[in-house]
Structures are given as C-alpha cells and as structure tokens.
C-alpha cells in the first residue's frame, strides 16, 4: 500500500456499487490474501483500477505532491548552499569561526530532529502542533494560495489527518536533507576553491582541552576511522582566536597551512549529523508513513465493510424465485340464513361422527329422521351411497375451523344433484360450545360463493 493506492481505494470506495456476492466472489478467488486485510485491499484496488475516472485522483495528487516536493527541495538545496557559502565567507583578514558552522550542521539538525521525533510520536494522536512548525507545511499552504496550483478535485480529498501529519513529517526530512546537501556542497566547494583559515572563538571561557574533549565526543562516529578528521589538541590551541588580541596571532600565521585541517572535521560533522542522521530520520518517517497509510486504509469509510463482505461466507436461506401473488377473491355471498328450521329431511356431518351429530342437533334443537357421517373416515363409495339415500332438504354440519377442501366441494357437487337444498352449517368445537368465529365462517362463505350453486345455503 502506498499513497497512490490509498487514494485509489478512497476514490473506489466512494463510487463502488459492487454487490455482496461480487465482493465475496473476489474474496474467494483471491484466497491467498485471506487474513491479510491490506493485501486484500490492494488486490481489490488493482482489480478495480479500470473503474477509476481519468485522470485518477491519485495521479493528480501524487504528481502535485511530487512536483511540490521537488520544487521545495531545490529551493532548500540552494538555500543550504548559500547559507554554507555565507557561513564560510572569508575576507582574508579574520579567520572563519567554525563554531557557526558546527552550530548549523550539528546543533540545528539535532534540535529539529528532536522536534521531528516528538512530532512522530504525537502524529498518531491528533493533529500535532509540531507538524505546523514544519517548513513543508507552510510552504504548501503558501503554494496552495497560488491560483490554479491545486486542482479542484484535489480539494475533495479528505486525507486522514494522521496520514497528513506523516506526509508533512516525511517531506520535511527530504527538504532538510536537501538543505544539508547544500551545506556540504558549499563547504566542499569553498574549501576546494579558496584557502580558508579556520579558527574558533567564543566569549565563554573554554579551555582548548575542554573544546578538544567536546569535539572528540562529537566525532565519535568517525574519529577511529579517520583520526585526521578530528582536530588535534595542538591545532585547537593554535586556532583559538581572540578578537581583542592581534589581528592574527603569530602562532596562527605560522601554522596557517595547518588551520585548513579543520575542514575535514566540518565535512565529517556535516556528513554525519546533517546527512546520515537526517537520512535515518527519513527512513524512520518513511516507516511511520507506511504504517500510517496502512492504518488510514483500514479507517476509510467502507473499507471495513468491504473486507467483511470479502471474508464472510454468504449464507442465504430464502427462496430462489419469487412467489406468484395470491389473489383473494372477495365476492359477497348472499345465500345465507341466520336461523335453522326445526327439522330437516337429512342431517349430515362432514367428518363429524354420527353420535356427535345427534348431540349437536339436539343442542340446536333440530330433528331429522336420518343422520349420516360423510367425508372423514368414509370411503368415497360410502359417501355416494349416502347421497343416494338423501333427498329433500339437507342440513350439512361442518367443522368451522377446518378449511373447506376440494374433497368437500366434490361431495357437495354430487349432493346438490340429488337433493333440493343443502344448508351448510359450520360448528365450533365442543369446548367452545359449538360457537363459531366470524373469521372461520367467512372462509366457508368464500368457498361456497366460488362454488356458486343456487341450492346451497350457509348458516351464519
């Protein structure tokens, strides 16, 4: 994952319309990246790259960032070079005080690097104050104000502040590195083209011994490898310079050729403190930046969902095809009566046993010479036999809670051919004292209306 793929991911997540099935299919095809969310994300970005609108946001952004960094670095290099030349300017009368240069190539870098380290630690927490001190931050702000410098679509990029911090930190290192190279170039250039007398001078009462000790400490990385790049105690004594003394002490003049020896120390100090250490900082920042990109990728809106969709199996339980819409017919049924007569020619019970039938009839105060159980456990032939013996008006009890089946309708069809009138009377359970529910009776009414025979009536 790099900045480019982060931006691509950002853009893709914003516009992606892939279904869960498609995402899962991708996850299954790319099984090697399973459990490696970042690899999965970058594989996904790679796969979907073609969907990005041209020019991709990442292209514009990185090229803008690149050219800005380049520009600022060149400026920094020049600036470093000029500063170096300024610091080493030697008018032939006064020697060049190495203290300034040491401050510039050792203490300034050490100080800014400490700040950088600090902001690195703080970068993950919030928008770090320290980042705002960085030249990279401000130069960009200034460049941003130039018209047409930043394309419109770049303004839409909402870079994660954590990432933004690291972008600034990393680029500050590059710029500082360029500046340091400028200094080194200046030093080498000036040393090569001029004969400079270096000296050291301070208001503080520092003995040459102490100063030597100090330089010895500073030179720890290279003093054993290049002993000549550490000024000897004699050289330090010889090159101490007091403003109030003679213009140049005799000793200095005598050792003029030796005074030049300082440059080696300065070069090594620049190389180590301003360049090698800074480069280490750059490597560190690169590392932090990479980590920040990784974290930011996972924080992108939709990234977590995408990963989940890729890695979770799709479990489904629902029907494959849609159901045919069931249309309920609401034809009103008007062949209904409210009260039973006192007697009927035949009383039949659909799936109601004969003994229960007489109890029901009793409770409703109806009498009849004939009682039959039909349907239920009867065979079809038995039913036909009963129909054959039926005539006149038939009271047909049915269980109100049982839905009328086509078996019942078949029977009714045969029955009406034989008799004059059939009164279908739904009854509830014994526990409900044969009371019915309107809902249940409606079901019967609907069925009978579909049957549509003038001879059939329903008791409600």
């Amino acid at each position: 994952m790099n900045l480019k793929s982060y931006l691509d991911l950002f853009e893709l997540l914003g516009t992606d319309t892939s279904s869960r099935e498609e995402r899962r299919a991708f996850g299954l095809v790319n099984v090697v990246t399973k459990n490696k969310p970042l690899e999965q994300l970058s594989a996904w970005v790679y796969e979907n790259k073609t969907k990005l609108k041209k020019p991709a946001l990442s292209e514009t952004f990185s090229s803008t960032l690149y050219s800005m960094t380049l520009l600022i670095s060149v400026i920094a290099l020049l600036f470093g070079f000029l500063s170096g030349v300024g610091l080493l300017s030697y008018n032939g009368h006064e020697p060049v005080n190495v203290i300034y240069f040491i401050a510039m190539v050792v203490f300034l870098p050490l100080f800014t690097m400490t700040l950088t380290l600090f902001s690195m630690f703080r970068a993950n927490v919030t928008q770090s104050m320290l980042v705002h001190i960085s030249p990279a931050f401000w130069m960009e702000k200034i460049l941003g104000l130039l018209p047409n410098k930043i394309e419109d679509n770049l303004k839409e990029v909402k870079i994660n502040p954590l990432l933004a911090n690291w972008i600034v930190i990393k680029r500050s290192q590059i710029i500082a590195l360029a500046f340091s190279f400028g200094l080194l170039l200046a030093l080498l250039g000036v040393v090569a083209t001029k004969d400079i007398a270096f000296a050291w001078s301070t208001t503080l009462s520092i003995t040459p011994e102490a100063f030597h000790h100090f330089l010895h400490t500073l030179a720890f990385p290279w003093r054993d490898l290049y002993p000549s790049a550490l000024p000897s105690i004699e050289l330090i004594e010889q090159s101490q310079y007091f403003r109030l003394g003679d213009k140049l002490s005799d000793e200095m003049i005598q050792n003029a050729s030796k005074l030049g020896e300082w440059w080696k120390f300065l070069a090594f100090a620049t190389l180590f403190y301003a360049i090698v250490l800074r480069f280490t900082m750059y490597v560190l920042s690169e590392f932090g930046f990479k980590k920040a990109i990784q974290r930011s990728c996972l924080s992108l809106d939709g990234a977590e969902r995408l990963l989940r969709d890729m890695n979770e199996p799709i479990i489904s339980t629902y029907a494959n095809e849609n159901e045919q819409q069931f249309i309920q017919r609401h034809t009103a049924y008007d062949q209904m009566i409210n009260a039973l007569d006192a007697s009927y020619d035949v009383i039949q019970g659909w799936a109601i046993a004969k003994e229960n039938l007489s109890v029901i009839a009793d409770s409703m105060k109806v009498i009849s010479p004939k009682f039959f159980e039909v349907g239920g456990g009867n065979t079809l032939d038995e039913d036909m036999e009963i129909i054959y013996h039926s005539r006149g008006e038939v009271l047909l009890y049915v269980k109100s809670w049982e839905p009328p089946t086509m078996d019942f309708i078949d029977y009714l069809e045969a029955l009406v051919k034989r008799v004059d009138k059939v009164l279908v009377c739904p009854v509830g359970t014994l526990e409900d004292k044969y009371e019915t529910e309107a809902k249940e009776v409606n079901v019967w009414a609907r069925k009978l209306s579909m049957f549509g025979s003038a001879k059939v009536w329903l008791k409600v």
Binding site: S299, I314, A319, A351, E402, K439, V443
Partner: protein
C-alpha cells in the same frame, strides 16, 4: 451426494408456510388465513457461498386426499413397491388440474425429500387426516410431525396419540415465536430423520450459529458507524451577504436534523436487511429532535440519560473540566439539598443539554462565508440514538419471519435499564467524547466501540 431435502406438508391453512418462513428466515412468503394460499411448491435452500446444504420445500395443502388414496389403493402391491405407485400417480396426474395440489406436494417427496407433517394442535384431531397420513406412508420417505398452535386451546395430547401411529418423531414448534435455540433444536430433530442426512444437517446447525454471529457482528458495525457518523456530522451552508439571515440559520438547522434522521432511517433499513426483514412495516415514535426537548424528564428517562446520569458519566469519563468540575462538586454536595434543581440547571446549560449544536459562522476573513452546524454537542444525543437503534435491532432480530402485519416499536423506560449500566455508560462516554471532538477516528477505536455494542446486542438478543 445429494443434499438433504425436507418438504413441509399438511392440511391447508395449518401454518406450513409460517413454519417454512420461520425456518428459512424469509419474510416474503405469503401467509394468510385463507386456505389454499400456497398453490405451488417453493424451494428454500440453505446456501453458503452458493453451495446448498439442505433444501426446504413449502407446499400446498392436501385437497383431495381420499381420492388420491383410493387411486393408490387400487394398486395392490407389496410395501416395497408402494412408492412406485405414488410416482405413477404423479406421472399420470401431472396435467390434471384436479390434483394440482397433491402433485405439487408429492413431487418433492418423491424426489427424496423427508416429510415434515404440520398439524394445528389448537384444534381437535379428526379422522379426515388419516387419508393424508396414509398417503405419506405410501411414499416411504422418512417423516416427522410438527404440532403448531394457531390458537390458545390445546389438543396436543390427542394429536400425539394419533400422530404416533404414523410418525416416529412428533415435535411442537411455534413459528411465530422463534429463537435461535428453538430453530436449532428443530434442525436437531430433522437431522435424525435419515442417517445420511445427519452430517449435513449438523453442519447446517453450526452454520446457523455462525450466521447468527454474523448478523450480530454486522449489526454492531452498522450501529457504531451511525453513532459515530451522527455525532461527528458537520453540515455546511454557504451564504451571501453580510450576515446569515434567520432563514438561513433555520435552513441549516433543518438540513442538519434531516441528515440525522436520514442516517437513522438508513441504519434501520440496513439492520432490517441484515436480519432478513426487508419487508418489515413498522410504526414507531419519531426521533425527538423537534424542539429538542431532550431533557424533559420523560424523553430522557425513556431514551437517553437523566441529568444525574449524564453528570456522573461526564465526571467519570473526565469530560467535565473547568466550570463543569466546579458545578459538579457543588452539585454533589448539594445533591441532598434543595438547591439541586438550580445547580443541575446550571450544569445543564454547560453541557448543552438542550441544544443539538451551535450554528457557527465561519470563513469571514477569506471572503467565503458559510454556516456550520455540528459536531453534535448534546451529551445525551448518542445515548438516545443508541437506545433507539439497539431497541429497533433487538425487536427486528427477535421478530419471527412468519409474523405479518405492522410491527409496533414503542420503547419504554424499562428497556434502557436492561442494557445500560454505569460501567457501560462510562466506557461508552469515552468514545462519544471522541466522536464529538470532530477528530478522525481510527478503525481500531471504532472496532473497540463496536465490541461494546456487540456485547449489548448479544446480551439482548
């Protein structure tokens, strides 16, 4: 090997579709009190990444069972040939409209499906069921009976005695009140129908458990996202002229509120979708943003936190600083005294109890001017939204897919007590504070918050 299949069969209108709907978690199945609602068999496969583990069939009810049985019995064959007769029946009556329902329901069985015979245990047993059960016996397929209770009354004893003659296994199941345990326990029974099926159905049981976890995870993710998004929401409105007019200020406030409502709506949709309740119709209280009387005792006690709870939470999470701390300590010492109301009122103003967020005018110096509203300053808001969302999620998650009709979601004050305690409030506040700060939230932080929410859901569902 073929995956196991199960056909849910029975008399019309006894809840076959309801049972399938519940077991398949499909809320689109047509269920009605009109017999004959289902006219065609329908398959409900359990699939993982497209691979079928088992298949469930909904079927129409028996219409002419006696006639079919009479037909079958005309063929006098030995027991090992009976299923062939059933197949013959299907072949001969495929295009006979008279036997449409029987053919539809027998077909999956003859294709190897196990039988789940459904009866209504709230109505008495009747002899007329015997023809159906006899036909099922002719198919020779493994079978079990499920007693469903459509009404209150109970005739299951007589049913069990009768069903015992035809089925090795008789179970009760309520499709209208399902839970994961019940669902799985039915599957456990089904697994025993045939030895070859056991492994596959057991795998399905584990899959259902995983599915449930998945749904919890996804819900927690959606919920934590919406809380974060709503609390950190910033709405902008550019304006022209010297100062924003009252109208413009109202407009941004409306826009802000509408965004909040839209976020809640889309979250509810996602949750319903996660739990396969895409067809849910619901009735619920609207979000109490209007007039923002969030701190009326009533709203607070039902939805969010009371003043006292908020104060304690704020103090515990270190949200109280400066004046807040003073007021808090003042408040604490006065907690028993009569000045409580006044002190808390003052603190209320400090904590922006009653407002959502201030409308700020920005960009004055740069020429571009705009109004900005958000992030949410109201301390109670995240709890209100969380409470509502968690409530909605539990209701949706617990709702059986067989239930039709409008769901009424009316949260009461007891609900909050079920899941929100002091410790949780403290942990939540830490994140709410971060959300409010307007800073970007790390994926890990949101994940931690998600874990909190997930635990709540797991506990409630």
């Amino acid at each position: 090997m073929m995956h196991p299949k199960f056909a849910v069969v029975g008399h019309p209108n006894k809840g076959k579709s309801s049972i399938v709907s519940a077991l398949a978690m499909d809320d689109s199945v047509q269920i009605s009190d009109t017999p004959g609602t289902t006219t065609k068999k329908r398959s409900f496969p359990l699939k993982v990444d497209g691979e079928i583990l088992y298949e469930l069939f909904d079927t129409p009810g028996f219409q002419r069972a006696r006639r079919v049985l009479a037909w079958l019995e005309q063929h006098d064959v030995s027991a090992d040939k009976k299923h062939e007769v059933v197949q013959l029946f299907i072949n001969e009556h495929k295009d006979d409209p008279k036997f449409n329902d029987e053919v539809e329901l027998l077909e999956p069985i003859m294709n190897g499906a196990g039988i789940i015979y459904v009866v209504d245990g709230s109505k008495p047993y009747g002899e007329e069921y015997e023809a159906e059960m006899e036909i099922l016996r002719w198919t020779g397929q493994p079978s079990m009976a499920l007693i469903n209770h459509i009404d209150e009354s109970d005739y299951s004893e007589e049913w069990k005695r009768a069903l015992g003659h035809y089925f090795k296994m008789v179970r009760t199941f309520d499709p209208m009140n399902t839970s994961l345990e019940q669902h799985l326990s039915i599957l456990e029974s089904v697994a025993q129908l045939k030895e070859e099926w056991t492994a596959s159905v057991k795998a399905s049981i584990r899959l259902f458990e995983k599915y449930h976890e998945q749904m919890l995870d996804r819900s927690a993710a959606v919920i934590s996202k919406v809380i974060y998004k709503s609390v950190s929401l910033v709405e902008k409105l550019t304006f022209y002229g010297e100062d924003a007019t009252k109208d413009e200020k109202n407009r941004i406030e409306e826009k802000y509120k509408e965004r909040l409502r839209a976020l809640e709506r889309s979250t509810q949709k996602s949750i319903e979708s996660i739990w396969n309740h895409d067809h849910l119709q619901k009735e619920q209280q609207s979000f109490p943003l209007e007039g923002m009387d969030l701190f009326s005792e009533e709203t607070a006690s039902v939805f969010g936190l009371t003043r006292k709870e908020l104060l304690v939470t704020a103090a515990a999470s270190g949200a109280a600083t400066g004046a807040g701390v003073d007021l808090l300590f003042g408040g604490a010492t006065l907690l028993l005294g009569t000045g409580l109301g006044a002190v808390i009122g003052g603190v209320g103003a400090f904590f922006a109890f009653n407002e959502l967020s201030e409308v700020k005018v920005l960009g004055q110096t740069l020429g571009k001017r705009y109004l900005e509203m958000g992030p949410m300053e109201n301390r109670n808001f995240p709890y209100i939204l969380l409470g509502r969302t968690v409530y909605h999620t539990t209701q949706v998650a617990k709702r059986s897919h067989a239930v039709r009709g409008v769901a009424e979601f009316h949260m009461d004050s007891i609900f909050k007590e079920k899941w929100l305690n002091d410790d949780l409030r403290k942990s939540l506040e830490k994140y709410h504070k971060k959300f409010r700060s307007g800073k970007e939230i790390e994926a890990e932080e949101l994940a931690e918050y998600e874990v909190l929410i997930r635990d709540v859901l797991k506990y409630l569902i």
